[in-house]
Subunit: 295 residues, 2 copies
């Protein structure tokens, strides 16, 4: 069994990005600049935004966090986004989700210009991804592709099962794994809450990408010997074996499954860090106008 | 075995659209207007455009065909599209494909404003389809959904195999069949040229949508009893049994497979007519601003 080390790859990617930033700066250009909008006091949201800001600092990106109270109006958010859309000083803009109920998440996230949509949530970026055109690919799916590429995992003609059809992970990774590309060309099945006899599908799969949101769901008796496992889930569950009384687990019962897997991502340290790596990569691509040649 | 009669449903849809056009006109509004750009002398392209114009006339839509010689420049096409994008008189615009090699099909089709993209090829419409938002769904996939709905075929939890990953049929129908919707909620597998052991997949499927472009490929020994078959292929092959010496066949060996199928589309008269039905439906929706509330 080979552990797919997302933390190590994240570190390598950050090193590579640092060098590119240094080269931009020595050419007299400003570093890439990521802006994040954070609404309300959700502790998880704050943690995620802080992790992104920390990573920006480590590699020399500029970053700006714009905080709003829980009761901010949608129109105030939209006018700030419009301002950033027109700013020559900011390359990427993300709005940390979830937003309060009185705000339409689609309206807000889709108002970010697709040139600066480094989360890859805008319909134009998703549509271009489906069509195989240059675009910002959503962060978690891009992170998964990067891990598979780093570990030279052969996906062509393999049976890939994606469990979970969310807009930000399951659906886009199912599309990416099917496309005609070096990481891709898999025969992909997308399973979800309405799927029957899931075990028959997991047992038949060469590669399983689990993004269903159920702690420790996937067990060793559900997979075949040599399977590749990518675990997107992350849950805080009670534990008698840690000081805090809690531990982090994924959608896969790691200790049970690892003996049968040829490759497996741990939780934490697998897919999670790669999401930030993708966001930084997308932001650098925006600063360098590698996807869209806007001025 | 029930034959899925696309010709009959096309006729019903045209009747419904006619009534809506009559109602619009009696309200003092102009009828929906579809414009088509046709480049060069490709006989198949002319046939397709003529069929669309004929259907428009039958139901009272206005239609305009703008013809260009093979050597038209891309910029000339783009300026005509820009003109139509701004016209208050035209609701839907299609560019008949293929275009000559010196023209970039993506640049041309994506320059059609997504409000008027009744073929559903624009990245915004594709992205919105992935996200489950109101949009113009590509004509052939929408036609397939309409057939399944008309025949009240239960798709929820069924194993659906889509063969072929083209941008205009296989990929979008695989996305639509997976989504959480009345026609949808299937467990979808997308097969393609790199898929191994296709027969194992066809034998396991409850619903097979074949869009691979190989005449009479799917045989009875590859499917299970009671399967639902949707055949997107259309090929002109030699025949000793017709006056012309040719006949039309699909990707399915219809005479061989029909005995095992619970539902099956014939070729011709199955999916084919539904493509035009979808185009007309999308154009009416544009005229009524049902998808996008632009002015």
């Amino acid at each position: 069994m080979t552990l797919i080390d997302g933390k190590a790859l994240f570190s390598n990617i950050k090193n590579g990005l640092s060098l590119q930033v240094a080269s931009m700066v020595s050419d007299g250009r400003r570093p890439p600049h990521l802006a994040a909008i954070l609404v309300g006091d959700n502790p998880a949201s704050k943690t995620y935004v802080n992790a992104k800001v920390k990573a920006c600092k480590e590699i020399g990106f500029n970053s700006t966090v714009i905080e709003y109270p829980e009761n901010v109006s949608q129109s105030e958010l939209l006018s700030k986004i419009e301002e950033i859309n027109h700013s020559n000083n900011i390359d990427g803009l993300i709005v940390q989700l979830p937003l309060p109920n009185h705000i339409d998440e689609n309206v807000v996230t889709h108002s970010i210009h697709h040139y600066k949509d480094v989360d890859g949530f805008h319909p134009i970026n998703i549509g271009r991804m489906v069509l195989g055109l240059p675009c910002y690919i959503p962060a978690t799916p891009l992170g998964i592709i990067s891990l598979l590429k780093e570990y030279k995992i052969d996906t062509s003609g393999k049976k890939c099962l994606v469990i979970g059809r969310s807009h930000i992970v399951g659906t886009p990774i199912s599309i990416l794994m099917s496309r005609n590309n070096s990481i891709g060309n898999a025969t992909v099945t997308l399973a979800h809450s309405k799927t029957k006899n899931l075990s028959a599908l997991t047992l038949g799969a060469d590669i399983i990408i689990v993004a269903m949101g159920v702690p420790s769901f996937l067990k060793s008796d559900m997979v075949k010997e040599g399977v590749v496992i990518i675990d997107v889930g992350i849950h805080r569950v009670k534990s008698d074996h840690t000081k805090s009384g809690f531990k982090l687990v994924g959608d896969v019962d790691y200790d049970d499954v690892k003996h049968k897997a040829s490759y497996i991502t741990p939780v934490p340290g697998g897919v999670g860090p790669m999401t930030i790596a993708s966001l930084l990569t997308n932001t650098l691509q925006s600063a360098k106008k590698m996807i869209y040649s806007h001025t």
